[in-house]
Subunit: 399 residues, 2 copies
Amino acid sequence: MTKGRTGNSKFLKAYNETGILDLIRMKQAVSRAELSKETGLSPTAIGAIVSSLMEKEYIHEIGTGESSGGRKPVLLELKPGSWYSVGLDIEVDTVQYVLMDITGQVLHEGSVPLRVNTPEMTVMASEACVRQMMRKFSIRKERLLGVGISVPGIVDSKSRRVVLAPNIGWEDADPAGMLESEIGLPVYIENEAMASAICENWIGSCQTAGNFVCLNIRSGIGAGIFTGGMPYRGTSGSAGEVGHLVVDENGPRCGCGNRGCLETLASTGSIVEKARRLARKGLVSNLKKVENFDGITLEDIADAARAGDAAVISLLEDAARYIGIALSYIINTLNPSRIVLGKDFTVYGDLVLDTLRKIIDARALKRPASNVEIVISQLGERASTLGAAIIPLKKLFGR
Amino acid sequence: MTKGRTGNSKFLKAYNETGILDLIRMKQAVSRAELSKETGLSPTAIGAIVSSLMEKEYIHEIGTGESSGGRKPVLLELKPGSWYSVGLDIEVDTVQYVLMDITGQVLHEGSVPLRVNTPEMTVMASEACVRQMMRKFSIRKERLLGVGISVPGIVDSKSRRVVLAPNIGWEDADPAGMLESEIGLPVYIENEAMASAICENWIGSCQTAGNFVCLNIRSGIGAGIFTGGMPYRGTSGSAGEVGHLVVDENGPRCGCGNRGCLETLASTGSIVEKARRLARKGLVSNLKKVENFDGITLEDIADAARAGDAAVISLLEDAARYIGIALSYIINTLNPSRIVLGKDFTVYGDLVLDTLRKIIDARALKRPASNVEIVISQLGERASTLGAAIIPLKKLFGR
């Protein structure tokens, strides 16, 4: 019985430490007295927990806060540059990386090219990348909380395996397990849209939203879904695979076997391909400037649209209409409070957001449509890399 | 500080009582020793909690269980016929009712016709219905845990108001508040598809499913969604309004303004209307027997299909195909482990389930499609009425 009690009290202490650490994170700067008031724990208990957290260098004391009289209280906050996390985002031909500290501050970021994207090669590049950052910033291994990986595919959260990632050609791969055994640190893995959603929820525009959807548009289209403030991954990790919602029954044939899937009509690849065809036919004055039509990028297309090219604007609006149709299905089904459009959509989203909103107002039911905000991600391309780095932090804070 | 401590320990005691009560419910028959082992609470603490629960007549002792030697332990279970709950399901022209005891046993059920369905008239009929059952079964008000109402419309779970229920013509109504002030007991309210989902989760086919969807097909079509084992209602209570997913862009105009919404092609009304048209044209041999074509019911249609009438079978299969298309959207988006098709679908579902499954396998992505079971509700029409009665029980068990 004594043994059980000790176990229990140790558990409670760890629980309380994690809880207090998370409270300090949320309050940003907070006194011991406030922590005691907020949690109902005695000043003595708070004092002991705070000492332990300071000893571990998760937090430190800063200046003084406001006081209603008497001695001004010392404030506590997360200690910058003390504990770290790495985020990696695997794309078709690059690995994006970011080094973050416990406060969410980005210390370093960049990307490494991948000549061949196999799980083995990518894990090798990732390992080199992590080790390089550790050297560069003199980070001891004990101070690295872990590594988060974001992949454009379906992840089985129990086994951590990448079940299927068609755009990078992976099937049943275990990059998290491989990297973990190389670097001897905890490695986590998430679908890239879910990584973006985790980022929006932690430091972005969905910190207070309980039910929201991050729609990422790139070579594929996928959604990261939060319900009740928690990531929703579905029964086998494939929730949010909305790139295959049918938005035009007579549309082009998709790799999945159906016609008119959202991906065939609104992915970056489909937009670029259509623009190239228009340019070859000489129908797009502003794109003529690009010497090699095959080299036309989404940025060129957005530039041409901004310069007023009607054919290009119409092309982007068509894509936005299809996105709007798919979102109206998602809105009717999930009634989210917010939808964040991310990745490549941030390149041209401002040009077509009104069109997209109009489609939603026409297509979705009135009540859920009037209760949803549609916004463009402020984090742009970086959301999933940042989100990957946030996963090890979330574990520390018991989230 | 002493006061705070007392409050805290009272809270803990109530929490423990609720937890132990729920454990006894789940274990069905359990000894004090098992409860102690399962929870880590001391035999003394368990003894005190069990005494308190027995005093309140939530539980009682029954015979003896298995023992590995020595005295056979007394088992505890929920006490039948001690505490009650009422469920009401409001339809277009009837109120279905059910009287349930704490064990989930149905003691009485039936329906009362509604000549005029306004919130006021329906609340009056509901009140009469509750009072009549209390008299008939000599149930004291103190022993009625509450009343649950199921409505075919959008419910705001914070205000308990029915925001919109087009099929019964209600808008911004407060039947729960009205009934509560009449009978002086807690009254809860849910959308009918969510009430069905609650029922499937409590006593039906989704007791172990965390992520599932109950699709109810009647005059309208709606879904009750569970994510992570909890009801998911969305941001403003309209999650699951999937009757307006577009399943045929060139389909008939819907009241919502779009074309080809699921409801226009697969609701009971649309099926019956099509069958009547076929019958008038003399195209359906078996339906000729029904003298007045306007009187053809869904049951007549299912009978004709069972008798082998090809035109009627094809009509039902068309409806199933549209349901399959909508479900493929839901499956791609939510990746549920189970979908339960309920209400009127139970009348003819066995005839078309294969067709529906084929559409899903063709239309949804392979992984979520292969991970979802599609079943017909075993509870038929009663699921939402039973679910309504379960709501007050869930509160008692802290669920």
